[in-house]
């Protein structure tokens, strides 16, 4: 068939396209386009009514111009006119134009929706399909509002043609994805599941995508699909390659449908019904067996289709993670692919093995391929394949092979592509720490990291090595010796100078006995780097110098001279100047004892708080915020139990519970789980906010979350600041509140901060804090984090001043046993009156003076404001300095409030 003979051949269009192609320059093209636009505009505006053909032709030209990348701001009305043409070809072009150039003009939308409505009810299957395609292509909320009710009816009606059913299923899927709230489940849902049994393979292929998506959101309602999917899969897998006629693709029966079936099954746990499960295991075995059979065709399409099913089956096996036999077989199969001549297969095998490595059943089997993977890292010519190999090495790493893997990754780093270095550095640092048996190896590894890829070593990494050296005295001497040696290199990375300065300042004395590293030699070595360094490093070095004066009195005069020099004491940088002045003064006037106390060795860092230091040094409060990233969202904090029993305001504030908040279990694909923070719901941060409103809620290597909040009456507003501490983008950044979810800016640039505002209304008293789930991707790895938002009942306190007499009268009125809650507990902090007062004020109640006969005791009064009611509360705190104990008594008009306040406060003192 010659090319242009097809269809109606709009000649004017073909000529126009040729003209454009013949344009020698961009300018000429723009000129030709402008001429055409002027022509079309005059035709559309002209007095003469255009016939359908002309209209179609001009609309098509506009579409072509738009697809070339030019703006089109007219022609929509003519396109809409074409929709109501009864000539198929005109209608088709009209729909295409509307699908590509969606316009939010409401008058137009009304007209478009009318045309679609007419076609949907036309009972002409070709027209119906066109209309459904348009809805699926546009997928806007307006269309969902207009058609989300109608399409399910078309989908399950007995007399609907197969082709219409197919379009209806996928059209509904698109609407469900964009506006899930508008697609209501109903009587049709059970009938949709049965489309899995449909005679027509095309109908099943289309419907299963819809069913999979719906199952993910409503697993219970759709669980009957499991057995249907298994029997359909079983029929396909066992069919001969010709049984399915046109649905057989290069001798592979229904590969697309098979993949979709296997994908659907991944929405569910293994089938409980023994027979169904047996049948499924049989299918999976058959698929694995077929991989070993000789190919039925040499065409790559045959092997791709066959392997697509195989990989999907392996994903399902990994998802179940319960059949050791299948897992090991899967691993062996992937092992074969690791050396396949097709790059695509090697890539996918490496990727798939990463997830197998995290299963206890197949971890060992994966490890046997270590040499092949290392070889891939060294020899693959495609960086994306090497990246997969590095990921797999990271995933298969454990104590037994850590040294080998870390060494290989380090040597790969020397030549690694710039795009992946930071991630590699982080991975090496994590592995080195996680599997360090002897810490000298750990120190060597990190110093090597700095040597090889210093620019990519983030603060957290070198802070961490210092923390570990400080916390482990068995490695301090070794660390001092090693950094000293490393600093000998004529050109060393600034990060090395930082680590060197810090460690020698603390532990230089451990190597000072050797004349080759005597105090003065150490000092001169450090100082020789000083002038090449940036201000922060110089500041660090100055602190190292004053520590030297304490460690080695014999260096005092030399160092004082350096401090006294104009370049220090008159330095234009305030920080450097201040340090020089203060250190000089300190070293001159303080006695040795004072000096020794001030400059004492750093105390050990609290375990597992690797980022504290980072926080101290950075002091990067949640201040600077880019306004354009501001997102507002309303969340309603009712009593959390109220989620299932909506209160009257529920519809306004949207009480639909978001996706269930589960503990942040590291998913199979999450490689860079933060090893420094606990998995699960993190509530250390939470308790720190009972008596204050602002601060850092959470921090790890990647992310810092700051909070500012303010409360008045029963309302509050909370600002969350998400700071990206890396230099790499976080993508698909989402936060989910278990009360209500609305998307936040999905992308955080490296080093940037995004702000989110949450408006809070307290409807009635509550005990559980709302959970905030944060998910994002960093360098390809999924990060998942669940935090308790520090919203506690005491935030809604209004302080109440009252005299002694009133206080005791009310105290007595609240005398029912359940109205009182009491706790006796040990002091966690120093029993400082002023600190206690500050905390109680932070709690939000009024601190009443001269009420309690014992001046040591504290009494407070306040009213908790909720929408439903006000809850008066009284509090008495009795410190016992001798026993280092407190007795806390809370009385409120509501028992749950007393109890909750008591629990919260018992952790604060």
């Amino acid at each position: 068939m010659p090319a242009v003979s097809k269809g109606d051949g709009m000649r004017g269009l073909a000529v126009f396209i040729s003209d454009i192609r013949n344009c020698k320059s961009k300018e000429a093209e723009i000129k030709r386009i402008n001429k055409e636009l002027a022509n079309i505009r005059s035709k559309f505006k002209g007095d003469k009514a255009l016939d359908g053909y002309s209209k179609k032709k001009y609309v098509c030209k506009l579409l072509f111009i738009f697809l070339l990348g030019h703006d089109i701001d007219f022609g929509h009305m003519e396109a809409v006119n074409l929709l109501s043409s009864n000539k198929y070809t005109e209608k088709q072009i009209g729909y295409l134009f509307i699908s590509v150039l969606v316009n939010s003009n409401s008058e137009l939308i009304r007209l478009i929706n009318n045309a679609i409505k007419n076609d949907l009810s036309s009972r002409n299957p070709t027209f119906m399909c066109l209309a459904l395609h348009c809805i699926a292509n546009v997928g806007s909320r307006e269309m969902a509002e207009a058609f989300a009710g109608e399409i399910p009816r078309i989908l399950v009606a007995g007399d609907t043609m197969d082709s219409v059913k197919q379009s209806a299923a996928l059209c509904l899927l698109r609407l469900y994805k964009t506006s899930p709230d508008l697609v209501l489940m109903g009587e049709w849902t059970s009938r949709v599941v049965h489309l899995l049994n449909d005679q027509h393979m095309g109908v099943v292929t289309a419907a299963i995508s819809l069913i999979t998506c719906l199952s993910q959101k409503n697993p219970d309602e759709f669980k009957t699909c499991v057995s249907l999917a298994v029997s359909r899969l079983s029929r396909i897998v066992s069919s001969a390659s010709t049984d399915l006629q046109d649905y057989t693709y290069y001798f592979v029966p229904a590969p697309w449908l098979s993949c979709k079936l296997l994908r659907l099954l991944q929405c569910y746990p293994p089938p409980e019904d023994g027979a169904v499960k047996g049948r499924l295991v049989e299918c999976l075995e058959t698929i694995l067996n077929k991989a070993q059979e000789p190919p039925k065709s040499k065409k790559v399409q045959h092997s791709n289709a066959k392997n697509a099913i195989l990989f999907e089956a392996i994903s399902l096996i990994i998802h179940y993670d319960s059949e050791p036999n299948l897992l090991v077989r899967a691993c062996n199969q992937l092992g074969q692919f690791l050396q396949h001549r097709e790059t695509n297969l090697r890539y996918l095998a490496l990727e798939s093995m990463c997830t197998l490595a995290s299963s206890e059943f197949s971890h060992e089997a994966v490890k046997t391929h270590i040499e092949t993977v290392i070889n891939a890292l060294k020899t693959e010519r495609d960086v994306s394949v090497r990246q997969r190999a590095a990921d797999l090495l990271y995933a298969m790493c454990d104590r037994s092979n850590a040294k080998q893997i870390v060494a290989e990754m380090l040597s790969y780093l020397e030549t690694a592509d710039y795009s992946i270095r930071e991630e590699m550095v982080l991975k090496v640092a994590i592995l080195a720490e996680k599997y360090a048996v002897d810490y000298s190896w750990y120190v060597d590894t990190i110093l090597n990291l700095i040597r090889i890829a210093g620019d990519y070593v983030s603060e957290e990494v070198w802070y961490r090595v210092i923390q570990i050296v400080i916390n482990r005295d068995d490695v301090q001497g070794y660390a001092a010796k090693t950094v000293f040696e490393a600093l000998q290199a004529p050109a060393c990375h600034e990060n090395m100078v930082k680590v060197g300065g810090y460690i020698l300042g603390e532990f230089g004395n451990l190597i000072a006995g050797d004349p080759r590293s005597s105090p003065l030699v150490q000092f001169n070595l450090l100082h020789s780097k000083f002038h090449l360094c940036s201000v922060p490093t110089r500041a660090l070095l100055l602190s190292a110098y004053i520590k030297f004066i304490n460690l080695f009195p014999e260096t005092k005069s030399t160092i004082q001279e350096v401090l006294r020099s104009d370049s220090q004491i008159r330095n234009s940088d305030v920080e450097l100047q201040q340090r020089a002045v203060e250190y000089l003064k300190l070293s001159s006037i303080a006695s040795t004892d004072v000096l020794a106390t001030v400059l004492e060795e750093m105390p050990p860092f609290p375990e597992r708080e690797s980022s504290i230091l980072a926080k101290l040094k950075k002091k990067k409060g949640p201040g600077a915020v880019s306004n354009h990233l501001l997102k507002t969202r309303k969340a309603c904090l009712t009593d959390i139990k109220g989620i299932s029993t909506p209160s009257p305001s529920a519809d306004l504030l949207g009480l639909r519970a978001g996706p269930p908040v589960t503990a942040a279990a590291p998913s199979a694909g999450s490689l860079l789980v933060d090893v420094f923070s606990e998995a699960g719901v993190n509530d250390d941060g939470f308790l720190r906010f009972v008596c204050k409103n602002n601060g850092v809620l959470f921090e790890n290597q990647l992310l810092q979350i700051g909070i500012k909040s303010e409360y008045r009456q029963n309302l509050g507003r909370m600002y969350l600041f998400y700071g990206n501490k890396t230099s790499v983008q976080f993508v698909t950044f989402t936060t989910t509140l278990n009360v209500q979810a609305k998307p936040v800016e999905p992308l955080i640039e490296g080093g940037a901060q995004v702000q989110q505002v949450i408006n809070i209304e307290c409807l009635t008293d509550f005990s559980d804090a709302p959970l905030l789930n944060i998910k994002f991707r960093y360098g390809g790895a999924l990060q998942n984090l669940t935090l308790k938002l520090p919203v506690t009942i005491n935030k809604f306190f209004q302080p109440t001043e009252m005299a002694s007499h009133d206080f005791f009268q009310r105290w007595k009125q609240l005398s029912l046993p359940q109205q009182e809650a009491q706790k006796i507990f040990k002091a966690n902090h120093a029993m400082d009156t002023e600190v206690l007062k500050a905390k109680l004020l932070g709690l939000g109640m009024a601190l009443l003076e001269n009420v309690d006969p014992n001046p040591e005791n504290f009494v407070c009064a306040g009213v908790i404001q909720t929408k439903a009611q006000q809850v008066g509360s009284l509090l008495r705190l009795e410190p016992n300095a001798q026993a280092q104990m407190y007795r806390l008594t809370v009385r409120s008009s509501k028992d749950t409030v007393s109890k909750r306040l008591c629990e919260l406060l018992a952790e604060q003192f």
Binding site: D51, Y53, H133, L170, D246, N304, T343, N344, V731
Partner: protein, 160 residues
């Protein structure tokens, strides 16, 4: 699937299909970035790459690159065969398709794609059924054409 792009070796976009709502600006940015990335890759490299949080699957047929963006859970190999099946459909319809066919009959390329993929999912994988749907439409077109009034000579030679 989130989108499909067809572009030439020179980086000219020949077809774009978006299955997620994005602004025109974003679409242009994505296209520019991806065309650049894919064209920079050497022939023997693998057909998959990670890009932002998506997986890109691409394949070159003569002077044209076919490039799909799929999500994390999606199957790369079957996407590669989606591309191949689409090429087969174009080939069958146009009769050994070439880039020019897609340039001059871009609307047909879109219609065929809509019959095959809808909302980013495979709607009908049988080659026969897809072509049947398109040919039926062409037949309707022919009928309609016969009924049309003769057009002016000027227009026949494309001067309007």
């Amino acid at each position: 699937m989130q989108f499909m792009l067809l572009f030439s070796r020179q980086g000219k976009l020949r077809l774009q299909k978006w299955y997620v709502p994005l602004s025109d600006k974003e679409k242009k940015k994505i296209t520019r970035e991806l065309v650049q990335t894919v064209l920079a890759r050497k022939p023997k490299m693998c057909s998959f790459l990670e890009w932002r949080d998506l997986k890109i699957v691409y394949k070159r047929y003569a002077s044209l690159y076919f490039c799909c963006a799929i999500e994390d859970q999606d199957n790369e190999l079957i996407t590669l065969e989606i591309i191949h099946r689409y090429v087969e459909l174009l080939d069958k319809y146009f009769g050994s398709v070439c880039e020019l066919d897609i340039i001059f009959n871009f609307e047909k390329a879109y219609f065929i794609l809509d019959e095959f993929l809808l909302g980013g999912e495979a709607q009908e994988t049988s080659k026969k059924n897809v072509l049947k749907a398109i040919e039926q439409a062409d037949l309707l077109q022919e009928d309609a054409k016969e009924a049309e009034t003769p057009r002016s000579v000027l227009e026949e030679i494309g001067l309007t």
